[in-house]
Amino acid sequence: MELIKDINKKVLDWLDERYDARQWIRENLTEKWVHKHINWLYCFGGLSFLGFLIQIGTGIFLMMYYIPTPKDALASVQHIANNVPFGWLFQRLHSISANVVNLLVMFHMLRVLYHGAYKKPREFQWVSGVFLLLITMAMSFSGYLLPWTQLSYWGAIIGTEMPGATPFIGEWLLQLIRGGAQITGITLTRFYAIHVVVLPLTLIVFLGLHFWMIKKVGISGPM
């Protein structure tokens, strides 16, 4: 125990000398001042972020076994769920917590609406939050196709028909999303790239903005 304390102190001293570590810990963790009116309703944003971290972690694990081709997609997902040790755990965690994250994000939004926390000076927190909601939903939609099951396939057809109803550019938009007139292997790899690279990166940028603004402006006052 003494040894651990000693090492702890030395590491902190080292960090302190260079980066004011102790001050940072005091200001952000041990002596952080929290409003009296904060209650459990304020936890949904943080929980959404926790869900996002779970999605990143389990998603990377799934990527290690998943094969994004029409021939192998379903088989590789079944392989993960049935043969890979604890594959069922990561696969279920990924798909269930995807649904949970959507719920949490919406609860978070409802809380902000209810408290009127979107008003001046937090307008752009709301705007970035709406983008985050849309990206979360796009994540769910693009991930839904990847197991290449009947549900995924028909879900993707219906989901892509909707932008197809846009006036004038609908048909072009539909074909752009599908990578052709039909849902094919091209759509699968397209959705895969969007799901694992494009959307996560965009999401991280908006999360950064969202968090930076919260830090700058502070959490909203009591009702």
Partner: protein, 145 residues
């Protein structure tokens, strides 16, 4: 406040709670790490000393069949003299040799080492012949190992 906690630090209740806390943390941490390590570990391969069986029809005369023996690449070749099984790992730097059917010899794609059907080095940098693996013919099958 600080002082009163310090005074009780030798208290058995406090040290018990500390131990309990560390145990719970340790178990939770292990519960997360264990599935991750199992998930990332390669699926169990053939056990040591396990034999590989293939049908004779799979390797016609003059052809070679590549397979996995004890987790490493191996090759079975069928010549007029019968079946031979060799390790397919070049003894130079570990590339996998390929079978040149028209020449009846193995060539390593990395540094052009050449081996004959018995695994003997014909030319190139490999210092040793390819490892021989025992082959037993039984009916329509051959057993390697």
């Amino acid at each position: 406040m600080e002082k009163s906690i310090e005074k009780n630090s030798s208290n058995s209740k406090r040290s018990f709670l500390k131990l309990l806390f560390l145990t719970v943390m340790g178990v939770s941490f292990g519960g997360v790490i264990y599935p991750i390590i199992r998930y990332l570990s390669p699926l169990s391969q053939q056990k040591e000393g396990e034999k590989v069986e293939i049908l004779k029809d799979e390797v016609p005369i003059g052809k070679a069949k590549f397979l996995t023996y004890k987790g490493n690449p191996a090759v079975v070749i069928h010549t007029k003299a019968g079946f031979t099984a060799l390790s397919a790992v070049c003894t130079h730097l570990g590339c996998i040799v390929k079978w040149l059917e028209d020449k009846g010899e193995f060539q390593c794609p990395c540094h052009a080492g050449r081996f004959d059907v018995t695994g003997k080095v014909l030319s190139g940098p490999p210092p040793n012949p390819l490892l021989q693996i025992a082959v037993v013919e039984s009916g329509a099958k051959i057993v390697i190992g």
